[in-house]
């Protein structure tokens, strides 16, 4: 990276550190910080959408839809995350490839399952094995976003389902008395008021989601915890220009600071949102705000 880095064994102190921290390998960990943040930025709204859909389905008056919503919430919440991440993703990937296989290779005469192997025609591979590495990485990342969204969507659905029931019933009755249709009541009265009840639960989920990102490596996406372990492990001089003993403690310390700072910022932001949502609500917080002003 820098001009003085040509012979790392000859330098020490800050110069050595500046070279060490800018090796290609270290750039990977900086990139993976971005990956994690991007994952959170995409997953949170998508999971919220899944949750909203699930909650709407669960409280539907149409029985099969309601069963579907309740089954989604119950099943996904009940399965351990790690099992979900190990098996569901491989199954999902195989399902997509099987669909493409059925469409693209109707003449294929061999079975899809050959012993232990899952075999589809080369055109049905997702992504194609000829595709560039970044396509594979993007595909893996999208699978990760989808899986995280399904898992956290189920929890969010449960939170929103409860929040929708927590809105005082008198509000809904009043809306009906004004002649609003069921749809109008839902969108204009129920949804705006339920967020204040949902936010504590949702902010919990957000915190858990931040800490769940190391599960990414199970999906083949290299995240910060993977790189911290890989970079921190002891290195012998034979295989690197920067040999060092076991430094995992320092790398994990950096991760600790990162996660603590990140959750602290989240807490502050969520606190502000809560304050705004409480305004004018018939809750204890809303009442306190009214008296203070």
């Amino acid at each position: 990276m820098f001009s003085w880095c040509t012979d790392p064994s000859a330098i020490d102190g800050l110069a050595w550190l500046s070279c060490y921290l800018t090796t290609g390998k270290h750039l990977s960990i900086y990139v993976s910080v971005g990956t994690v943040l991007l994952l959170l930025a995409i997953t949170a709204p998508v999971a919220l959408a899944f949750g909203f859909g699930g909650a709407m389905a669960a409280r539907s008056h149409f029985a099969p839809l309601s069963w579907l919503g309740k089954a989604y919430i119950a099943i996904v919440r009940g399965v351990p995350d790690i099992a979900f991440f190990l098996f569901f993703v491989i199954a999902l990937d195989q399902f997509f490839e099987w669909l493409r296989h059925e469409v693209k290779c109707p003449d294929w005469d061999q079975p899809i399952r050959q012993g232990n192997d899952f075999v589809v025609c080369a055109e049905a591979k997702l992504p194609l094995s000829t595709a560039a590495q970044w396509v594979h990485e993007t595909y893996g990342f999208s699978l990760a976003v989808l899986t995280f969204s399904i898992v956290f969507g189920a929890f969010a659905a449960n939170v929103l389902f409860g929040a929708m029931r927590a809105v005082p019933h008198a509000q809904l009755e009043t809306a009906e008395a004004y002649g609003m249709s069921r749809r109008q009541t839902f969108w204009r009265i129920l949804v705006p008021q339920m967020w204040v009840y949902a936010l504590p639960g949702l902010s919990n989920l957000w915190m858990v989601l931040i800490k769940a990102t190391p599960l990414l490596f199970l999906l083949g996406v290299e995240d910060i915890v993977y790189w911290a372990r890989e970079l921190g492990g002891s290195k012998t001089a034979k295989f690197t220009d920067y040999p060092h003993p076991d430094w995992r403690v320092w790398y994990f310390l950096a991760l600790l600071v990162f996660y603590l700072a990140f959750t602290r910022v989240s807490e502050i932001v969520l606190g502000r949102i809560m304050k705004r949502l409480t305004h004018g609500q018939a809750t204890m917080g809303g009442e306190a705000q009214r008296k203070a002003s």
């Binding site: 290609g24 990937d93 050959q114 012993g115 589809v120 083949g220 001089a237």
Partner: protein
């Protein structure tokens, strides 16, 4: 006429299949020097990288390297996320039930014990021995009756000995030797264990075409001595 058309269509299809097959995705762990590791530039490096690239040239395929966690390296192969495993994986009957192997490209490599310096009189049968999960060494320790502790990566097994969680590590000698050479606090025992049938390239059992291609490439490297040069360069076991 119709059959001729169909025949050409079938031919065209097999041609495209063969073309799509020309990119082979090579799965590895990237944490087991000298076999495979991530170098300072952040790329896969090591004996298997160099060997694999040469094999791909000889088999006339383009290769793309992918790293994957050791724990899920076999499930991802059979599910088709990559096409081969080159990760210092010894050929064993248990693994052969699930995946296929090419012929071995290293001799059966002795496994060695790494202990803290000054512990050469250790009684191994009553010791706590660390090994990486899902390796032949882990199975071996479990069978010999010592207490086995398993770790996800090779590096953690060595760390376990240094911090006293385990009395010894059992792993491939070519992995442990550089570690013992460069630090005074750990050393190798004189006792070696011969386990495993040498390291081979893992492929899907249904992928016989790819297996034959790489078998031929490995054979040609054995015949002209270039494989031995690589084995000596990376200090991996005995040459062929």
């Amino acid at each position: 006429m119709k059959s001729i058309l169909l025949g050409t269509a079938a031919l065209a299809m097999t041609a495209t299949v063969a073309m799509a097959q020309d990119v082979v995705r090579m799965g590895t762990e990237g944490a087991y020097p000298p076999y495979n590791f991530i170098n300072d530039a952040g790329e896969v490096d090591g004996f298997e990288r160099e060997l694999g690239d040469e094999l791909c040239t000889r088999a006339e395929v383009t290769c793309e390297w992918v790293t994957n966690d050791w724990d899920s390296i076999i499930p991802n192969l059979v599910s088709g996320n990559y096409d081969t495993i080159m990760a210092g994986m010894s050929i064993t009957p248990e693994r052969e039930e699930v995946i296929g192997f090419t012929q071995n490209y290293t001799q059966p490599d002795p496994s060695a014990y790494l202990v803290l310096s000054g512990m050469e009189d250790i009684d191994l049968s009553g010791a706590v021995i660390a090994a990486q999960t899902g390796t032949i060494q882990a199975a071996f320790v479990a069978e010999m009756g010592a207490t086995l502790v398993e770790y996800a990566t090779p590096d953690e097994t060595v760390a376990a000995v240094r911090n006293g969680e385990a009395d010894a590590v059992l792993a491939d000698k070519s992995y442990l030797a550089p570690v013992a050479d460069e630090s005074d606090d750990v050393m190798l025992l004189d006792q070696d264990e011969m386990i495993g049938g040498g390291v081979g390239m893992g492929v899907r059992q249904s992928d016989t075409e790819l297996k034959e291609k790489f078998d031929a490439a490995i054979q040609s490297m054995k015949d002209d001595g270039s494989l031995n040069e690589l084995l000596v360069k990376w200090e991996i076991g005995a040459p062929f």
